[in-house]
Subunit: 344 residues, 4 copies
């Protein structure tokens, strides 16, 4: 049985982590550490937890026990970086949901996050935890950088193609749309329902931090083509839809491409290949990533959809924890008899 | 272990019943019987079930096995009535989610549903299955009429007050709002998103069938005051919000009223009394009913909120099944370690 | 031609007033006075005004010209009260959109707004500007208290009945739902789209300020029955839906009731009596109030719908201005050839 | 003064055309011709028109008067084609809002619309009516093919760049999202609010008819690079957001690019160049197209936003009519004093 420390509880990722830990059959103990929320009962902060997590109090960030087996950090970037070294040094395992350890190079971190990296020795050591990759090695891992939400949706859509056909890829443009929960809970006038209802807006064009993360992972396996990435906000709470436009230098065959993807994800319980473009609602509330491929001569268009807070955050973190401890990766994430899925 | 037959699978209630049965630890076998959907795999009808209910086929309504322990009927009213007698006669238990057996009198059924009741002998025998009532007796029950969605939200809000203070109640007006999933999946122009987005509309004023059901249950315990009930559609998918306005013939004390409700629901795992009016999102995706009481001299205003498809349908049906078989009523409905709640 | 001063420009009412004045054929000059927004061009504050109000600058609240013919005050309550006396003393006309002058008694103002009224001599002098009332006298009016949004929707629904049948009314319960623009533009976490999407919540039960305003107007014409009023937030931006539940001491005839309403509103261009409950979208973007009556023996249920920012705010204010200056009341509010309506 | 015939009244475009004609100062007469809606009063079909278009009856499609000055056809493709020749032959002007005359070649029409073109001689004669192009010649025009909604948003974003820098463009990928009103009013289960609420889905990938239209116009001015176009549905009623990703063969300068666009649209009243990505709500309810350019070395990302029913349909059609008759292009489309804009 696993003892879990959840650090950071006031945001959407913290809330989802709490919910997953509360129902995970192999987690027999978990504590939540918060700052502004410390000393409150969970159901005071999240009224929907009443009758579910009764009597669970949020502890202070200043008194984090070092005796948990694993820690989830759901803090803003720049704050996680301060806690991770101590937790690692105490021999613990850490899954960081911030952007602090996703980039491999401190220079890139400085460039995109505008901060000097105070624990850069951990950047090479960490595992970039894209949990559905068949190739990742979880043995002896100490620190997992949980991928960003957009990178999760984008990379799962692109990696099999890039890995297998990198040499013929001319360019990749990813256009992604996210529900506003991705922008966090801090009050902002432009994200009020009265402002965002029925609205759509692109943001951070040519300068979204997740661009660096996606490009890094594509570049690692050889991609050197033209690349662009754009992000938009949707007038809904949850979900990411990503449309990847790839131009090839030569034609490709749809069957061949589908075969590559089926092979690549043959052992994944959470990547579902679809015959039609996925509907966002198929994945909202779940840890699935649904993917569709469309090919016309040398144009490949890949649509992918995830829940930004689950597959793009807390769910993938739990999946990573399962892999760290050698559990079935779907434990606590799919209930079929002992599994679960939200439906509308 | 329980074997379940789910009859009717093309609507929202059927879908939720399938989902709950699929994850219920005491259900070791369930079959789904459909009409238009027969012979399809479940994930062909509901793509969100892919990788969850794999290889589960929908069987034909014409070949319903009589060997299940219990049957959920998620059929339109007028159709359930034709199947129930045979299932009961074969010694099985039935939970009917339609309106066919909710009213006690065939005259009322004729008046409100415009049909002659072909199995009226079952009307008295059935249990009206408002699952959070402490008083209901599930022993030897054969047929449970699962309450309507609006009646569930309304009666849970009103019964403790009416039961304890009926003699001083002058009038009750219930004004309720529902997400459009309550209107079903059959295509209608007025329910298209392009039409309903940002819209609200009252409907069936003075003639909604659920009015008869609510009034029947209040009348049974002595209510004879003025009564009205209105229903509206919200531009959202799921959830019911009910505001009950009660005028008393004399003043009442807030503490006293709160005490009555805490006592009444002291053993309920699914009715949560709140200090503030509930938010609909606290209950959507769950089997909870959240209730708030506000008193000013002789005016009592009670707000209650449920998920219309879960507490007002499939969830309450599972809760009823749990009670029939002597299980903890929350089995398969709340997961805390072995329990679950959807979060946003 | 009219010269208009709009005081307060950062909120939704200010924005709508600017838009109406900008297109009003009898307004040849208007200036906008703001605080935090002063010295900006209008289209810098409201990008949607670009190419429409070009070159119009917001002036400082500290330099309000006293030479406009009429002033619209779109300030929070407590602030309007400080400016009105000076504007009136200078011989100008004022339409105040805040709650500062709606109540007739300073005691009620203290009770509901928790402020001492510093210009209480104006309370009796002012006209309560429910613009569709046939009886109001606009001659020589100096100060108009523009009604609240909920009172507009409620009173237009109730006044004909109360005026004609007050003696047989036993009780009135108004249950109303509003889009979140009614809660203003100040950032609040609970009103972020990520929180309010798909949500509904009642608020200020038994203590909403508009209750005092509605009751005052009903009481004035003799109503003394039981009364309650509740407000809820909808997960949409704009619109109010009000459902008024009236119990009578004796039966009433539907035709008679409809006749009373047609007579009452025979000269109104903005109250539309409907055979079915109105849809909110019929009125959003317009100055209309749509009303439906449903009668069953002694139960009368009246549904009414308005745009909270137009009929419940800026549109009604323009209508009041038209009446003050003897213009057709629909000038600038309906365009048929010279009139206009937003459609979806 | 102009006499207008509107043919086709049951859809969203027809409704918007009616609304615009009803308020257009130079339209002194208009008639609506419908099929299923014939013989009804307008406000019976569109209750929101009550008190606005009173006493206006829909006439039968079988008795279209040939004496109007201009006709708007708001019919499905394949139906418009049957009426246009007769109207043209009678010496009238026609603005067709369907796709029947947008493509220049009958072969393309067969390929994309799967129909033989029965009036192909008109294809070359027609004007492709992208109303904000400075170069179009409206003199002596008989038939205007009103552009599709996606092509309007896409072409306005791309034409200045392609026209000026075609030789250095390597590829263009357009990713666009539309509100569901674009899919029409015919009831479909997948477009019910209960299904689409909170949902997003891509559709017709590599086979949307508007792709042919966009490519044709780009190809005409010399574009020969890689090209892709995708469409998605948003869970909102109205609006199109298009993100165009262009890779250049060499770097470009942001100032230079902005200059090209300002020059190109210097005389347009409806194309607004923005410093930030536009918000969809800035344009919904208006005839504007808002455009933002973002450049990073050789990557250009252009975001554009329109109202799909106005700028992408009825509004652009009115603008075309204005140009045909030599009126100011904004007549009836912007009201500033005599102009108007919807605000929230």
């Amino acid at each position: 049985m696993i003892s879990v420390g959840i650090i950071g509880s006031s945001g959407y990722l913290g809330k989802n982590l709490i919910n997953f830990c509360n129902q995970h059959v192999s987690v027999d103990n978990f504590e939540i550490y918060g700052n502004t929320t410390a000393d409150n009962y969970l159901h005071e902060i999240f009224p929907e937890f009443q009758y579910i997590t009764e009597n669970k109090k949020i502890l202070s960030l200043e008194n984090i026990s070092l005796s948990h087996d694993i820690y989830f950090l759901a803090l803003p970037h720049g704050q996680a970086i301060k806690l991770v070294p101590e937790l690692i040094n105490a021999g613990n395992k850490v899954i960081d949901l911030s952007g602090d350890f996703r980039l491999d190079s401190p220079d890139d971190y400085l460039k995109w996050y505008n901060l000097n990296h105070s624990a850069s020795y951990l950047l090479k050591e960490k595992l970039y935890g894209l949990a559905d990759l068949p190739s990742s090695d979880y043995e002896n891992v100490k620190l997992i950088a949980n991928p960003g939400c957009y990178p999760t949706a984008s990379l799962l859509a692109l990696l099999p193609l890039v890995k297998n056909h990198n040499e013929i890829i001319s360019s990749i443009s990813i256009v992604s749309y996210s529900g506003v929960s991705g922008a966090g809970k801090t009050p902002r006038q432009d994200l009020m329902l009265a402002e965002m209802d029925g609205n759509v807006v692109a943001y951070n064009i040519h300068k979204h931090r997740h661009e660096a993360e996606i490009y890094q992972e594509l570049y690692k396996i050889g991609f050197k083509g033209d690349f662009s990435f754009t992000t938009h906000l949707l007038p809904i709470s949850t979900g990411i839809y990503a449309t990847s436009n790839i131009f090839l230098k030569e034609e490709i065959n749809a069957e061949e491409l589908n075969h590559i993807y089926s092979e690549f994800y043959s052992s994944s319980q959470f990547v579902r290949l679809r015959n039609t473009p996925p509907q966002l609602k198929w994945v909202v509330g779940t840890n699935f990533c649904d993917i569709n491929l469309s090919v016309r001569t040398s144009s490949v268009i890949i649509t992918s959809a995830i829940d930004n807070l689950i597959k793009g955050g807390a769910g993938q973190a739990i999946q990573n924890m399962n892999k760290v401890f050698g559990l079935d990766e779907s434990t606590g994430l799919i209930n079929s008899r002992s599994k679960n899925v939200s439906v509308n």
